[in-house]
């Protein structure tokens, strides 16, 4: 913590910079997990009411991962 250098542009409040990359990892992981949980959960509910043995939960989880990956590419990719 000693000798903090000032940020790259002296005060850092002039002009607009491109948004930084930090926090992207957490966002990516949360999209993946959220995808599995949401669509897996919806599939589980469908299973529950249709009386099937988990086939929809499986399909939902796969769909959710696909959606999560797609979101990561669209939101975080170039």
């Amino acid at each position: 913590m000693t000798g903090q250098k000032p940020p790259h542009e002296s005060r850092g409040d002039n002009g607009s910079d491109p948004p930084p990359d930090t926090g992207m990892g957490m966002t990516a992981v949360s999209y993946l997990i959220a995808g599995i949980l949401v669509w897996g959960g919806i599939g589980w509910l469908v299973d529950h009411y249709a009386g099937t043995e988990g086939i929809f939960a499986g399909i939902g989880a796969v769909l959710g991962v696909a959606g999560g990956v797609y979101l990561i590419v669209r939101r975080l990719g170039a």
Binding site: M1, T2, Q4, K5, P6, P7, E9, R11, G12, D13, N14, G15, S16, D17, P18, P19, P20, T22, G23, M26, T27, S30, Y31, I33, A34, G35, L37, V38, W39, I42, L63, G64, A66, G67, G68, Y70, L71, R74, R75
Partner: protein, 264 residues
């Protein structure tokens, strides 16, 4: 398993439980069913008082060549401003630096009570405190986003990714879940669980030493080893304390950045 723990519990309550986190009340002294003013409450107030007094005293007469106190306060603020606020949010982040610094110092000090000798109890090991902090950050980043974009534009921006229409029904629930439901939970639970587990770990190793030595005198060397490990774990706990305070601050800044970001 229970039989074993009863034998061990001859002198010390060995398997530590959640009950160990509910300390007797201070005011009225020693009451067991009264949680209005406990050690936890006291520690939070001491933290707040320390922070206020320290920062006021450090900046009472600011000097060009800083005194030691002023230098410490400026280093902490500079660290959060440059390495968290400006790095994460960009130039607009400077105006969030005071909040982020307060958040960082509050969490850091509250966590730090977990390893102060004879105190050794972090208020953040009760989920109420991380939960309230997470709610503050949650409300703040949504408010900031609405202020910046306008209500509908903000939620449109946050919920509707740039994608062809037929894939949107798949994506919007994921966005809703990950942006507005998981975030406050993960913030609160991450901090709480780290502090809770740290306290539990120290309890297991300390009480375990006593339990072993009282069960069988031949186990004394193992008890000593257990206590030595307690000291080592305290060092590890220090690392966790700093890391969790930092992570909470960085994630808050990252959410604010996401709320302020323009579509691209």
């Amino acid at each position: 398993m229970t039989g074993q723990s009863i034998v061990l519990a001859a002198d010390v309550p060995f398997p530590p439980s959640v009950e160990d986190f509910y300390l007797p009340s201070i005011l009225p002294w020693g009451a067991h069913d009264n949680y209005w003013f406990t050690k936890i409450t006291l520690l939070v107030w001491v933290t707040v008082a320390l922070l206020i007094v320290f920062f006021l005293a450090a900046y009472r007469k600011p000097q060009l060549v800083p005194t030691k106190r002023q230098w410490i306060a400026e280093s902490v603020y500079g660290f959060v401003r440059n390495n968290v606020a400006v790095d994460m949010i960009g130039p607009a982040g400077v105006r969030f630096a005071p909040y982020l610094t307060t958040l960082f110092m509050f969490i850091l000090l509250n966590n730090f009570w977990g390893i102060v000798p004879f105190v050794q109890m972090s208020p953040n090991s009760h989920i109420a405190f991380p939960a309230v902090l997470a709610v503050i950050s949650y409300v703040m980043f949504i408010y900031v986003g609405i202020r910046h974009h306008g209500f509908f534009k903000y939620f449109k921006h946050a919920l509707i990714p740039p994608a062809p229409w037929f894939i949107l029904p798949l994506l919007i629930p994921i966005e809703l879940f990950s942006n507005f439901i998981v975030r406050p939970f993960s913030l609160a639970v991450r901090l709480f669980a780290n502090m809770f587990a740290g306290h539990m770990l120290l309890l297991v190793f300390t009480l375990g030493g006593f339990a072993m030595i009282s069960a069988n005198a031949w186990l004394a060397p193992v008890s000593v080893l257990s206590w030595a490990l307690t000291i080592a774990l305290t060092m590890l706990e220090f690392l966790v304390i700093c890391l969790q305070a930092y992570v909470f601050t960085v994630l808050t800044a990252s959410y604010v950045q996401g709320a302020l970001a323009d579509e691209h």
